[in-house]
């Protein structure tokens, strides 16, 4: 079951707790998602991710199947990086194991072959080994405009559907 959350113009901490009713009967089951929506993602701590949203859209015939991003450690301690949330059907991510204090490292997302002809909005979550075990989520979006595609206006937003 995929839970999709639109952060819109929310700020600060958010929790959502959808309930699942089944023929098992009460009590209902639930899942919970938590996040902290930031207004200035270019000034987070202890890392700053640039770009903070990854748009891997393809407009034209030239295949666009990967994108780099930078993780800057703005603290005075080295930080280990790990991926704790990844849309594995769509992308792979290459990430250095750690980022030294005051330095930057580069990450790379690559589309899986089956995802090349798909439009989607997913996200990638990275966890640090700082005392808070801080997490940062990077939205990953792909739109497609292939030559001869006249079925959609250029400014029409990508439609997302819960598929699971």
């Amino acid at each position: 079951m995929e839970i999709i959350f639109d952060t819109k113009h929310y700020t600060d901490k958010m929790s959502k707790r959808p309930t699942i009713q089944t023929n098992e009967g009460p009590p209902d089951k639930y899942v919970q998602i938590d996040c902290e929506v930031v207004r200035r993602p270019d000034s987070t701590y202890p890392i700053i991710i640039k770009p903070y949203k990854l748009d891997i859209s393809q407009f034209g015939e030239k295949v666009r199947d990967q994108m780099k991003f930078t993780i800057m450690n703005v603290s005075d301690k080295p930080l280990a990086l790990s991926t704790v949330g990844l849309p594995t059907d769509y992308i792979t991510v290459t990430l250095p194991a750690s980022v030294p204090a005051g330095k930057s490292v580069e990450g790379l997302i690559k589309l899986k072959p089956d995802a090349l002809k798909k439009e989607f909005e997913k996200s990638l979550t990275i966890q640090l080994d700082d005392e808070k075990a801080s997490r940062f989520t990077i939205p990953v979006k792909r739109s497609l405009r292939l030559p001869g595609d006249t079925t959609r206006a250029a400014n029409e937003p990508v439609k997302t559907v819960d598929t699971k």
Partner: protein, 67 residues
């Protein structure tokens, strides 16, 4: 002989009834919470939770209520 056959039939029916009563769906979710941490505004984020049917009967999802 007739009585013995009747007893076996009654026993079989009773066993089937008991097993039908005991058959129950059971939904198991190894992960029920996920923390995205810091996320930018105006973004769609997503996470997949796995649901497993571990009972004797199929689990039917009747309704998902956004919370």
């Amino acid at each position: 002989m007739m009585l013995k056959a009747l007893f076996i039939v009654v026993l079989a029916v009773a066993l089937v009834t008991v097993s039908a009563i005991q058959a129950a769906p059971r939904l198991v979710m190894p992960e029920t919470t996920f923390n995205f941490g810091y996320v930018p505004q105006n973004s769609k984020i997503s996470h997949v939770f796995w649901l497993y049917s571990k009972g004797d009967d199929s689990v039917q999802i009747l309704k998902v209520v956004p919370g």
